[in-house]
């Protein structure tokens, strides 16, 4: 009797065990950390605009995120710390490609943050595409990068040509309110690298939309040391607005030579020179005062301002010394939000989650656009992080536009 009962008992036990194991899979063991790889222009020509301070800010962000417990991953029902692996690409696109290859194959990075500057991102993003690893671009915003139909890349910044649209919106408001006279003509310098060329193209494109005439457009080689021929030509043309789409060192050469030869347009707009206060100190107040440009920094009121500010505080530097901290912040935040939304570290699912993200961040709602037309180019994965128009006033950078964030009023040069 007992023997007869034992057999069904064990059979039932086996069935229960089998059903148990087949119905409820135990989650894989969670990884120790989420590895996020990136290359950065810590040395080399682009380090002038990013460099060691950007590394410092990234590391500060990492430490604050981890002190808060890391990122919640539903798949493991736990929070995981992040580990940033950042290498110096020496500002070389080819070196950056090698480093992302290493990050994918040797370091086994789970995700990528893009390198700084469009000329480097345009090449490095091919590795993300090759290995199917999500890459979040930080500062690279040339439309060429996003017009290639890449599936594993998004960039947080608004496309470079749109910087011009923002600037002319401010000029129009100043003219409408009679703060400045009616300006009619624009002359544009375009430094021949991805990004600066796109900023220049935007300067031309949106000038025409704003009803301004582009009287001269000069393409220059990278790092041109002599602007004499352009200045002599423009002295004859007398443009109201001079728009210099170049890196800050090249812009310093132009502004200095224009000053030395008595060329003073009504307004001088050089987007990159208000990214930090360094340019003002370098060229001196008689040249820098009143020059307008763009900034990524403003008095942010929405989003996780506390995380953004705490990381800045830890670096011991000011926001304008850190090589565009809002973009570094945003690229990491987008990735972490994507992981949380996907609830997994599965790369495809995280990428899908990132593409459809909508959340409140420093500048307002963050989202990505697909099939977005920019100056005749269909772009996929471009973000909506805006730039703010600023002016160098008394050695400080004052945000002028949009009006709701303005810290000062436009001053004539």
């Amino acid at each position: 009797m007992k023997k007869r009962l034992l057999v069904p008992f064990f059979f039932i036990l086996l069935m229960v065990a089998f059903l148990n194991s087949s119905m409820v899979f135990p989650a894989d063991k969670p990884p120790k950390e989420i590895k996020i790889g990136a290359s950065l222009a810590i040395t080399g020509p682009f380090s002038v605009e990013w460099g060691p301070p950007t590394l410092k800010y990234s590391q500060a962000l990492e430490s604050v995120v981890n002190e808060r417990g890391g990122v919640y991953v539903k798949e493991y029902n736990t929070r995981l710390p992040i580990k940033l692996i950042i290498y110096d690409d020496g500002s070389s696109p080819d070196r950056s490609v090698e480093l992302y290859e290493k990050l994918a194959t040797v370091d086994k990075a789970d995700f990528f943050i893009g390198p700084e500057s469009s000329p480097i991102l345009i090449k490095a993003s091919t590795i993300a595409e090759k290995y199917g690893i999500p890459m979040i671009g930080s500062c690279g915003n040339s439309p060429y990068i996003f017009a290639r139909g890449f599936k594993w890349l998004v960039g947080v910044d608004m496309p470079a040509p749109q910087w011009g649209e923002t600037y002319y919106a401010m000029i129009k408001q100043l003219m409408d309110t009679k703060q400045i006279p009616q300006l009619k003509t624009v002359a544009v310098i375009k430094e021949e690298t991805p990004h600066t060329m796109d900023v220049g193209l935007g300067a031309e494109h949106y000038a025409k939309i704003a009803g301004l005439e582009v009287v001269s457009s000069e393409k220059i080689p990278q790092g041109l040391a002599d602007f004499s021929s352009i200045i002599i030509k423009w002295k004859g043309l007398k443009p109201d607005i001079v728009y210099v789409a170049s890196w800050s060192s090249t812009a310093a050469t132009f502004a200095k030579q224009a000053h030395e030869t008595g060329f003073k347009p009504f307004t001088l707009h050089i987007p990159h020179v208000t990214l930090t206060t360094v340019w003002h100190k370098k060229v001196g107040p008689e040249i820098a005062e009143g020059v307008t440009g763009i900034t990524h920094i403003a008095n942010f009121k929405s989003g996780d301002v506390q995380l953004y500010n705490e990381a800045i505080k830890r670096t011991g530097l000011g926001p304008y010394d850190l090589g565009i901290p809002p973009n570094r912040f945003l690229s990491l935040e987008v990735l972490l939000k994507g992981i949380e939304k996907a609830g997994t570290l599965n790369r495809a699912k995280v990428m899908d989650a990132i593409k459809t993200l909508r959340y409140q961040t420093l500048h307002g709602e963050m989202f990505f656009r697909f099939g977005y037309d920019i100056v005749g180019k269909k772009c996929d994965g471009v973000g909506n992080k805006p730039v703010y128009i600023a002016q160098l006033q008394g050695g400080e950078i004052k945000v002028l536009w949009p009006l709701e964030l303005a810290e000062g009023k436009y001053k004539r040069r």
Binding site: P45, D226, G284
Partner: protein, 295 residues
């Protein structure tokens, strides 16, 4: 007419900058046969260290210049004993190729250490510029840059000084003799190491001083040295190795052609124009416009 005069002045002043970039480079090549690829980086170091002492530590120029002098004399002695002397010992045939390889490495090491060191410890943006903005000189309704005229003047002064040193002084004549006939030079009893060392020290000091003058007119970043070496090499090939006054003339010619060419065809063509001229000179006059020897 006024435009052409402005272009002429602009071209000449650009030529002055080009002469400034290249004359000390030419001095070392013609006397020691060392092709110092790190020339442009030493030039940038001159600018960078001046910026540290003058702008960041706010030292008086009377203190800044002796420190610079001592620093670059020390550097040039290290350079001479660590690279030049080693190469001379290996034999004359090894000088050119050996110096290219050794100074290439030196250039990268110096460039990165200045860039990263500067950005980490001094200023997040390693760009050097002296904020000396002199008022332009007004002439017939045209504004001419005083900074550039000053650079042109000092470049001319330094070049003529070195030219006279090589032509008139005992050591200068010795350096020329060493370059022309090393065997004959040894017979007259001069020590080649001492002569080479003197030339290397003087040329290094002149390079550093040129870097200081350069950042009066053009900002430069810590990584701008190698393009400067390339530009200097273009001027030397154009002028001809060993001709210091030729450097001034070739610099002026190249400056004029670039400025006038840029005015009519666009600045994007400036490099194309200068390298096209270089190509033509190499094709039809390989010794350069004013030179007698090839490197």
């Amino acid at each position: 007419m006024r435009v052409f005069f402005q272009l002429f002045i602009a071209g000449l002043s650009l030529g002055g900058i080009y002469a400034l970039l290249s004359f000390s480079f030419s001095l070392i090549i013609s006397t020691t046969k060392i092709l110092n690829i790190a020339h442009g980086v030493i030039f940038v170091w001159g600018a960078g260290i001046t910026a540290i002492l003058w702008l960041h530590l706010r030292l008086h120029p009377l203190i800044t210049f002796p420190i610079l002098f001592l620093f670059f004399v020390g550097f040039s002695l290290l350079f001479f004993n660590g690279i030049v002397r080693v190469l001379i010992r290996k034999g004359e045939h090894y000088l050119l190729s050996g110096s290219i390889l050794a100074t290439f490495g030196l250039a990268f090491a110096m460039e990165s250490s200045l860039g990263a060191g500067w950005a980490n410890f001094i200023d997040p943006q390693p760009t050097f510029l002296l904020p000396v903005n002199l008022a332009p000189i007004e002439l017939w309704g045209m504004a001419i840059s005083s900074n550039r005229l000053m650079v042109l003047f000092f470049a001319g002064l330094m070049i003529m000084g070195f030219h006279l040193f090589l032509k008139k002084t005992f050591f200068g004549k010795g350096a020329r003799a060493m370059a022309q006939n090393f065997g004959g030079f040894l017979i007259i009893g001069l020590n080649p190491y001492w002569v080479s060392m003197l030339i290397v020290v003087l040329a290094t000091l002149a390079t550093a001083l040129s870097g200081i003058l350069y950042i009066l007119v053009v900002p430069i970043d810590a990584y701008g040295g190698l393009p400067i070496t390339l530009k200097a090499l273009t001027i030397i090939i154009l002028a001809g190795v060993g001709s210091l006054p030729g450097i001034l003339a070739a610099g002026g010619l190249l400056g004029l052609v670039e400025v006038i060419g840029s005015y009519f065809f666009g600045a994007i063509w400036a490099h194309v124009i200068s390298f096209a001229i270089l190509f033509l000179v190499l094709l039809f006059r390989p010794t350069g416009l004013f030179g007698k020897v090839t490197i």
